[in-house]
């Protein structure tokens, strides 16, 4: 496979690549000026739709299609929200884009706002990214100064204001309706859908929520064309009418136990093994991989034997994972205890559950407490059944919660129990030789004296 020349990441390593001058020298903002002059908003929507671009945030929904859900002839305002609350463990692709090439992102935002007829865009930035904050704000100021933002952009009659909002460090703010609530100044409790944000979103107006990387893709589609974009990636499966294909380049965040972790741009559809071996230099210290997280911790686990799965939008689902997610590939080597991994995962989700839906609020906490007990040498085989039941029943997929956080919490649990059950059983039997087989309920209530 010939090496792919980075497009989204072309500014990485370029001195002062984050400046507007550097971006323009690479051909930036030209397509914007051309499209604003020549095309109607609907043409931009059609262009993005034709490119087959799917949202890079996790769900992989067609970006162009999402834009068409906005009500026609709405008197406005329509809002564009850019999700830069990149909190999924292992994910840092948007950070690279914001820090090294913010103007690419802003050009994408202007184009998307033009297509959706939004006159206000909000960037919801993760609190923990101070450099992204500085660089994005600088870039926004530069774009205003150069006339790409503000009133009547380049004489086109189209106006756009972009506001950079810094979040307060909560995972749930990355959920699109949680983000909207947070932007409105409320507690980030996701909303029940429908109505979807396209109908009723920010300040109860039609709203499009897209992620930073999607914006960068829009900018590149405008610059290089639909055909270029569709020439990259995995075409639609002709046997599956529901598969729209996975086109375009993708930023994979490779981390964990590899020799060269980092953010790599490749066409969609690279297998996990290729990514680890060709880009990451293989598993570190000459060890073997035990498991690989395909796209952020909430997507579940792939075993060593499943590493030839292509990392496109359809691939990880075929081996029981939730999906491609944010394409944050985390490699876990053979020395790691899967019990430790699951404990860490449960701790994260118990900490980040917003607490709105009961199954998630209590399920994440309960699973964490059970894993703590297992690690304390008091596990029982029955606990594995309980964990699997929690994993199978909480989330949007079974329909018991409002947002997907619970699915993200459930997938590592059920993948780990299903794919590594033997290891869990061995661990429990070894650490709790006396009690592993007990099936009675664990006494829950302490005897309480007078109080």
């Amino acid at each position: 496979m010939q090496p792919f020349k980075p497009v989204l990441l072309e500014a990485v390593g370029v001195p002062d690549g984050q400046t507007i001058a550097s971006y323009k020298s690479r051909g930036g903002y030209e397509p914007l000026e051309r499209l604003l002059k020549e095309k109607q908003p609907i043409d931009v929507v059609e262009m993005v739709k034709a490119s087959g671009l799917r949202g890079r945030g996790g769900a992989g929904f067609s970006t162009g299609l999402k834009w068409t859900f906005l009500p026609k002839d709405h008197p406005g305002p329509i809002y564009l929200c850019i999700n830069a609350d990149e909190s999924e463990p292992g994910t840092f692709n948007n950070r690279i884009l914001m820090e090294d090439d913010p103007h690419q992102v802003i050009e994408g935002i202007i184009l998307s706002a033009y297509a959706t007829r939004a006159s206000t865009a909000y960037i919801y930035l993760r609190y923990e990214y101070p450099q992204s904050w500085q660089r994005l704000q600088t870039a926004i100021d530069e774009a205003y100064a150069a006339g790409y933002l503000g009133k009547n952009i380049k004489g086109s009659g189209f106006s756009l204001d972009v506001y950079l909002h810094r979040g307060a460090a909560a995972y749930i703010c990355g959920e699109e309706t949680g983000l909207i609530e947070s932007l409105e100044g409320k507690r980030a409790w996701p909303r029940i859908k429908p109505p979807f944000p396209a109908i009723e979103g920010l300040f109860r107006k039609p709203t499009v929520v897209n992620i930073i990387e999607t914006m960068a893709c829009v900018a590149q589609i405008a610059r290089r064309g639909v055909d270029w974009f569709r020439s990259i990636g995995v075409p639609a499966d002709p046997n599956n009418p529901r598969d729209p294909g996975s086109y375009g380049p993708k930023l994979y965040c490779l981390s964990g136990h590899v020799e060269r972790p980092g953010c790599y741009e490749t066409p969609l559809g690279i297998t996990a093994r290729q990514l680890i071996d060709e880009y990451g230099g293989g598993v570190w210290k000459g060890r073997k991989a035990k498991a690989v997280i395909p796209g952020g911790i909430s997507m579940g686990l792939m075993t060593e034997s499943e590493l030839d799965t292509p990392l496109d939008f359809a691939g990880p689902g075929k081996v029981g994972c939730l999906g491609l997610g944010t394409a944050a590939v985390v490699v876990i080597d053979e020395t790691v205890s899967i019990v430790d991994f699951l404990h860490n995962s449960c701790r994260f989700f118990a900490h980040e559950s917003c607490g709105q839906c009961t199954p998630c609020r209590e399920g994440t906490n309960w699973s964490l407490r059970m894993l703590e007990r297992i690690k304390a040498g008091k596990g029982r085989l029955r606990d594995l059944d309980l964990l699997a039941e929690i994993g199978n029943t909480m989330g949007m997929m079974p329909g018991s919660t409002i947002c997907g956080l619970a699915d993200g919490a459930a997938w590592p649990i059920k993948n780990a129990i299903k794919k590594f059950r033997g290891e869990f059983e061995d661990y429990i039997k070894q650490t709790n030789p006396q009690g592993w087989m007990v099936t009675d309920p664990v006494p829950a209530l302490q005897i309480v004296g007078a109080h």
């Binding site: 607490g355 199954p359 609020r361 407490r369 018991s400 829950a444």
Partner: protein, 480 residues
Amino acid sequence: MMPKLVPGCQTPAKDGTVIVTESQLVKDSRARVEEALLIDHPIDCPICDKAGECLLQDYHFQHGQAERRADLHAFTSRRRDVGPTVTLFVDRCIMCTRCVRFTREVSGTAELMVSARGSKEEIDIFPGHPLDNKLSGNVVDLCPVGALGDKDFLYQQRVWFMKREANVCGGCSAGCSIHTEHNQDTVYRLKPRENPHVNTWWICDDGRYGWHHIHDTSRLVGAGRRANSSTDRSTDSSTPLEAVEWMEVVPRLRADLKAAGRLAVAVSPMLTVEEAWMLCAVARSIDPQALLAVGYVPRTGEDQTFPGGFTIRAEKCPNRLGVEGVVALFDPSVPSWSRLVEHVRAGHADAAWITGAYPAAWIDDVTAAAFADLTCLVVQDLFDSPLSALATWRLPAAGFAERAGTWVNVAHRAQTFEQAVRPPAGVWPEGRLYWNMLGRRGLYDPTAVRRQIAESSATFAALAGEIPATGVDLRIHQLA
């Protein structure tokens, strides 16, 4: 493909939508939610005030499972003071956030919030801003579990010992529908009763906690008459009251008033329509020229409307419109309290019958002095006042939960209610006294009186038939 679970109450219906509520999947899911709710719940029902009316108990009984599979030790008993009327048992909370929404949407004061995240989240107040508004007690009613406790009611009575009577709040002219909850003639608390025409689901704290006066030990009990007062003006407060048996009150009171001569009567806006009408009839049977006036109408401040639409009225009596309607049947000019005072002060009356039943002090010495020179002064009130000190006849009045009848609120809505508790020994509710003074047989029957009023008056014609629990608009025949 099995369709996934959806919240039935939140899913917009389309043509052909079928919501299945009793499949095994649904039942299992409900059981799991119940199980999850109990994971963090202390299950301290034996010491919880909500036990017996707790939705978590009910739902767990209905949908839950018997075995507790979770091994978490939830029992702690953290109690947090959130305001002057409400206390929060932090660990009993199931985070439905109804109380938070109430303070944001209905009272508009937004004192409550959710703090922290996940299973550690709690209801809390903003530092330095306690839950202190005129509607704060409603969050206790909203709470489906025992997390929010009413300090006034806490540990006073087990809910299953109490009986509830549909009643109407007498605190102001809004006339909120309430339930009076009582046991053995003792009221323990008032709860709002849903009435879309009046108070929707709420009552204010003034009303909610405004019942304590009926169990006040300083209430007037027993009928009393000052001796040697029938000749000239010799009554003074130093003369001891002679206790009079109630059955003797009926003829002797009539005789005293008849002997005195010209009569003036204040019909208190705390009385029911039926009582007011009977009082007027009694007065006119004694003196056909008697001045009938609407009694003192207490007012405090201005009407207060909350963002959710709930209004607390400034007029602190429940039945001004009803009493005005009754008085108008006898005297179309509807004399007011101040006209009665002037009338007495000018010496046009020899006797006065002042009905009160006000829960708080209402008359000052200066006003009372106008009645000092009367031959016969009858004062019927809940508490001693400068006026009762001058009284020839001092009669006790009934508290709001002790009477039966009809009140007409500020929006002309007439609501009928039954007696919830018996008055203290030695107190005849006004209705009983007037019924006997009119010479009617048997027990006082407000319904019979109400029918009689409805037949003889256009104003009250709407009261002729059965009156629904939410009341009836007296203007209904005028609107039609």
